[in-house]
Symmetry: C2
Subunit: 245 residues, 2 copies
Amino acid sequence: MNKYKLTLAYDGSQYGGWQIQHNSLSIQSLVENALSTALRTKTSATASGRTDAGVHATGQIVHFTTTTPIDIVRLAHSLNGLLPRDIRVLDVTEVSLDFHARYSAISKEYHYHLSFVKNPFKHLFAWRIHTPLDLIAMQAATHHFIGTHDFATFTNAGGSQKETTRTLFRLTLEPEDEGVRLEFVGNGFLYKMVRNITGTLLAVGQKKLIPSDIPQLLHAQDRRKAPAAAPPHGLFLVKVCYNIE
Amino acid sequence: MNKYKLTLAYDGSQYGGWQIQHNSLSIQSLVENALSTALRTKTSATASGRTDAGVHATGQIVHFTTTTPIDIVRLAHSLNGLLPRDIRVLDVTEVSLDFHARYSAISKEYHYHLSFVKNPFKHLFAWRIHTPLDLIAMQAATHHFIGTHDFATFTNAGGSQKETTRTLFRLTLEPEDEGVRLEFVGNGFLYKMVRNITGTLLAVGQKKLIPSDIPQLLHAQDRRKAPAAAPPHGLFLVKVCYNIE
């Protein structure tokens, strides 16, 4: 038996998220079907983490095991032939049997895009903001999130994680073409954590909160104290890092 | 009665093109419905030219006339509220009554995107090329198209134009992020002319033709002599120029 790691990019707009669900088409089911067809045997795929409906990925990592002998270049071509065009396999690499897409990850990077411009090509890939934003205040607020904190205020029921302490290594606000991008790098993220923090940073940008409100919000450990989550379509899973690389 | 000019951007992926048709949803019908609702009277919209199904625009120009008094800033907001998110009104300007979106145009600019990379976010916005391309040969071939020529070889039946001579002011090959972009600027374009020229330039890039074959192809005035058209989804109508500006 051998184990392989896939790097995937996908436009999540048309799907019900990574995870197999009964009422919508999941990226996982399409990837597992493609793998099962290409390898001629039922194959499951485990991702570094689920992405919600409408969330995109440019560097999702998935592992699978198989006893079928594999030519990794040919497999990438076959999978891309079998998958819809909005899901692409960027890379196939053999990994050791103790590799796990989720448990071996040492850090993950997410980007959240806010757009200030009406652009019909971006409406599924950035959150369109119609109000002026105080970017200096948002930048100041990001510092309160960096480091090791209990992020219970910034997660929603529905996550599998009981322990809500995480370390955010980096959270920066980067100007981009038609808006700004929030870059999150951390050792792990709770369910909806990036979207919840983004919603709160937006409230700071709109002067509904001030940066020094953040420590109290973190301390409260109560989701209801913080503003609403940002919508899924501005969010991209960009990179997952492992010790093996 | 007053006349107004709209600048529109749209992602053409979901539509049957600009022009109203019986079997598919057209951008024209959505724009006319939005105008008719906003102005409270049935209003028609005339574009600088039709775009085919799957073709995009970042600067389509449309005119309409109305007797309803208009606040142009408010109208842009209303139209964007009424239109789907993949069609945006970028600008509304009052123009003189003798302005015509199509007949007053002095030049148009189209871009055609070729992509060399598998990118699930570009599959509806660039033609994915899987073969190596001789970009030097393609660049050389572009020079044969520039200037005033009878472009009959590079148009398809279905266009309304009988006279097939046009002037191409500029045709350049520009490197971009994950591929190259062909930029066409001309005094007018025949039906499918940009896509047909792009298909022929691709054949040059793939060494199925050489640059010096182009003059003969132009001379033949026969669509069947030239390679197949490029698909619609790589094409963008970028700009329409008028004397009034």
